[in-house]
Symmetry: C2
Amino acid sequence: MFGRSYYCGEVAESAVGESVVLKGWVQRRRDLGGLIFIDLRDRSGVVQIVFNPDISKEALEVAEKVRNEYVLDVRGQVVKRDDSTVNPNIATGKIEVLVSDITVLNEAKTPPFMIEERTDAAEEIRLKYRYLDLRRPDMYSVFKLRSDITKTIRNFLDDEGFLDMETPILTKSTPEGARDYLVPSRVHAGEFFALPQSPQLFKQLLMVSGFDKYYQIARCFRDEDLRADRQPEFTQVDIEASFMSQEDIRAMMEKMMKKIMLVTKNIEIETPFPILKYDDAMARFGSDKPDTRFGMELNDVSHLVKDSGFKVFSGAVSSGGQVKAIVVKEVADQYSRKDIDALGEFAARYGAKGLAWMKVEEAAMKGPIAKFFSEAEQADLCEELSAQPGDLILFVADKSSVVADALGALRLKLGKDLQLIDESIYQFLWVVDWPLLEYDEEAGRYSAAHHPFTMPVREDIDKLETNPAEVKAQAYDLVLNGFELGGGSLRIFEKDIQEKMFKALGFSEDETKEKFGFLLEAFEYGTPPHGGIALGLDRMVMLLSGSSSLRDTIAFPKTASASDLLMKAPDVVSEQQLQELHLDLVQKKD
Amino acid sequence: MFGRSYYCGEVAESAVGESVVLKGWVQRRRDLGGLIFIDLRDRSGVVQIVFNPDISKEALEVAEKVRNEYVLDVRGQVVKRDDSTVNPNIATGKIEVLVSDITVLNEAKTPPFMIEERTDAAEEIRLKYRYLDLRRPDMYSVFKLRSDITKTIRNFLDDEGFLDMETPILTKSTPEGARDYLVPSRVHAGEFFALPQSPQLFKQLLMVSGFDKYYQIARCFRDEDLRADRQPEFTQVDIEASFMSQEDIRAMMEKMMKKIMLVTKNIEIETPFPILKYDDAMARFGSDKPDTRFGMELNDVSHLVKDSGFKVFSGAVSSGGQVKAIVVKEVADQYSRKDIDALGEFAARYGAKGLAWMKVEEAAMKGPIAKFFSEAEQADLCEELSAQPGDLILFVADKSSVVADALGALRLKLGKDLQLIDESIYQFLWVVDWPLLEYDEEAGRYSAAHHPFTMPVREDIDKLETNPAEVKAQAYDLVLNGFELGGGSLRIFEKDIQEKMFKALGFSEDETKEKFGFLLEAFEYGTPPHGGIALGLDRMVMLLSGSSSLRDTIAFPKTASASDLLMKAPDVVSEQQLQELHLDLVQKKD
C-alpha cells in the first residue's frame, strides 16, 4: 500500500487494535461533545476518524480547522465502535480510528457542488469541474467497471491467441460514411492526415500479414454533429481474425460477453444468443437493433385492410406500402383521445403521416376509424392481433420504412412509459443477413450498409451489378437491450469482388485506384479469408453500469458542441503555428 | 482453433496419426521424384506438407499450380518423417503431413522481396509493402513480444490496484517543449484542438479526482523534425499515483521491470537498480543516460593541467572550463594519427574544438602535446588516470557541457567500436537529483528540464526566484543500456509553488491564467501529493527485441519525413473539406 495501511473504505473489523496510517479527503466533519468526527474518504469509501483531546490535544486543534475536501494524512488506532454508534450503511461501520497524529496535506475551497452519490448539479458545471465530479463515488464505480471490463476483454482475447496491436492515429482519409477529423502536415505543405474512423483497413492489412488474430482497444474519431448521445472520439474493441467463419466469430464473442458479464457483474447469461434475421427484426420490431425484453410486436394487417372502406389503409396497400399495428394491452381506458394525439405527434417525428387507432370493447371496436370496418373485419383484426377487450390498437399505414421507424419508436416509447421492460435483464441477440447496400436517396446512389469491405453472400455476388438492393452481406450485429453493441462481418479478400463492390458504390476506377489502390494491390499477394467485429466500449460500459449517457462513461468527455469545458478546447492558436502549417483562416462574414 | 487443427509450426510429434486441417501460406515448393513438398507457413512457423499421387492425384494436380505465398487449406494425415529426412532446424522437423485434400483460398503474385528471416530489401520497399514485410518471422516475433510486454505491464499494474483509464486525444495545446499537431475545429471556426504530447495534465487531474492509481498505454504525438530515430506518434506507459514517495514509485517500477524481463525474456534481473545522481552521471559518463555496461569513465584532470605549458588546457581551466580525459586501454598501437584525427572529427560534431591525445609508452607519453608536459606532470596524469603503457588517452578541454557531450559520445563510440559492451546484459539504472530548469540560451530564459509540473526539492523552493539554475527536481529517469527508458517525478500539487514555477519559466500572469488557469483552480480543491512516470513502450520493445530501429517496433510506422508510404498519408483533401474547416491553403511561393 506504499505509505498507507489501508484504503479508507477497507479498514476491516479485523484491523481493530492496529496502528494505522490513512490518507484521504474530508467528506464531512461533525463536532460533538468536545470530540470531532470526520468521515475520511478515498476511492474505496469512507472511514470514521475521531479526534479526542484525551488522545491528542494537538490533533484535535488541527482538526478544528479542517473543512470539507481537505486532504489529510492521519495516524491512529483502529477501535470497535459502541454498538449504539455502529453504521450498517458503510463497510467500515463497525470501527473507527482514534487519531493521534494529523497532517493537512492540502487545503480546499468549498466545491461548487457537493461530492456525493447522486448530484443535481448542472452538467455544464460538472464538466467544467470534472475533477470534482469524478470524486463522486458513482463516477468512480463506472470507471472501475470500465477498467474491469477492458481487463476481462484483454485476458479473454489473450487466452484465445489474439495479439494486442496498435495502428496509426495519423492516417489517411477514407470514405467510411462520416466526416474525418483532419491534421495539417507541416512537412508536406497543403497535405493532411486524417484521424481514423476505425482501424478497419489496418486490421485487414494485418490479416494480409498473417498475424492471424488481432485486437486493439482503439480510439476512433468522427467529426459528426453531436445530436443525441455521441462523442467526437470514442473507443471500440476492435477484433479481426483469419480463417474463422461467421459462426466461429459469433461463438467466440458470446463466450467473451459471457465472461464479461460473469466477471464484472456476477451475472450468468445464456448462450448461444438468439439470432434474428435483419428482415425479421425490421418486420417484428421495426428496428435493426430490437429491444426484445418485451413483446408488443408489429403485425402486418395489410391483407386484412387492403379492401377496407378506410381509404388511408387501402390506399397505402394499393400504392405498394403496408399497414401495421401494435397492440397495447389493457390500456384502452387509460389513454384519452388527447393522450393518443400525443402519441400521433410522436409518431410524426418518425415520418408517419398519421396514427390510426381503435379500442377493443366487449361488443365492438371504438374510435374514429372503427366505422370503416365491418363487424367481420373487426373480428378478423382482433383475431389476427390476439386483441382483447380493453386493448388499444395503434396503426401506421405508409411505405415500409416509415411504418417500421414510426411503429418501432412508438413500441419502445410505450414499453418504457408502461414499464413493460424488466431492467434487470441483459438481453443479447444477433441480427444477421443484413443487406449489403442501402440506396441513398439524397446522393442518388448506393452506399455500404456496414462498410465497403463487407463480404457479400457468395450466391449474391452476381447481383452486385444487376440488383444491388437484393445482395445480402455476411454481416452480424450484436445487440444488447435495444442498443447496437457492435457490428462485424466477413471481409472481402479477393481483388475482383472488392472491385465490383467499389463499382456498385459508384466509385470511378480512378477514385478506386487513388483511394484504395494499396488495398487492391495487397489483395494480390496472398490474402487469407478474414473477418471480425468492433464493439463500442463506451456503450458497453454505459449499459453495464446503468449510466444514462455516454458522457458518464468517458473521463473527460466533450459537450454536444464538441468542446472540452474543463481545459477549454478547441482554442485559438498563434499566427506562427498557422504559418508552419501553411494555413490561413477564412475570415468569418458578419 | 476454429476450423484448424493446429497452427503450422505447432504440429507436434504427438499428433502423428491424426487427421488434421491446416491453413497457411506457401513458403517454398519443391518437386522431387513425382512428389511435391511444400513448407506451409503461418505466424507460428512452418510444417512440411507432402503431395503423393498414391494418396490423392487430385491434390497433387492442384499442388502443381501453387506458387510462393498462395494461401492454402489442406487436410491430411500427420506422419513421422524418415530419420534421414528429419529437419532439426524447425520445431516440426520430425513430422510431415500427407495431404489428401487441398483448396487454394487465394493466389499470390511474386512478392517484391522474399519473405524470410532477414531481408536486405530497402526500407522504402519494406514500408510500402509493409503487409509483406510483417510476414517475415522476425517481425512477427517483435510484435508478439510487444503484445506480451503490454500484457505483463497491464497484469502487474492491475494487481497493484491501478485503473486503466483513457484520456482525450482531441485536447488543448500546452507548452511541453515540442511542437503540437493541430486539428481544426469545424464547429468552432478558427479554433483548433491539439493532439497530446502526453496525458500529463489529465493524469494529474485524475489524481485531483481521487482516482489514486491510474495507468494508460497512451498514444502521444510530437510534430518534430524526425532526425535520428523518432516517430510522430509514439506510445508510452503512463503511470500516476497519489500519496507515493519517489522511493515507492521507483521500487514499484523495479518490480515491474523485473517481471517484464522474467515473463517475456526469461531473464532474472537484479533489483534495486543502481542510482546515479545527475551530476555524477554527467561527470563520470558525460551523459544523463549513461551506458554503464563498460568503463572508460571521464576523468577530470583540470587540477593537474591548469598550470601546464599547453595553453589549450590551462586556458580552458582559467576561463572557467575544464579538461577531462578518457583512457582507451591497450589500443595505442592500433590507432594511427589518421584514426585519431577521425575521432577528433567525430568529437567536433559534439562541439569540441579539438581532441588532444597522448599515448602512454614505457618511458614517457607520446604524441604532439606530450612535449608540453614535464616528466612529473606526465607521471601524475598516468597515476590519476590509472593509465598503463599501451593506453591511449583522449582529452577534451572546453566548458563543461561541451566536454561532457564530446567525451561522452566518444566513449560510447569507442565502447562499440572496440566491442567493450556485453550485449547480453540488461543494465538498468536510475538517474536522480536532476536540475529543475535548464537555461535556454536561444530563448534567453529558463525552460523545464522535465516539464513545468515537476516538484522542486522542498529546500530549494526559495531559490526558484533567486537562483533557478541551482534548484533540484524530485525527478528520476530510468535508463537501460544507455537509453532513456522513462522519466518520472513527483508533481507540484500546491498552487503557490506551481505559480512560482510558471514565473521562473518566464510566463506572464496572463499567460499562466490563460493556459493553466484550470490547473491552478483545480489545485485549490484538495489536491493530494502525487507523482508518476512515463516509459517509452516503443523503445522498451526495441531494446528487449534487439531491434535496431523504433520503426521495427511499430506495425505501420512513418518515414523520416513523417509519411506513410503504404497508404500514402498525408494527402491532399477536397476544397469542401477545407471550407468546412474554415481554412485556406497558403500558396507555395515558387
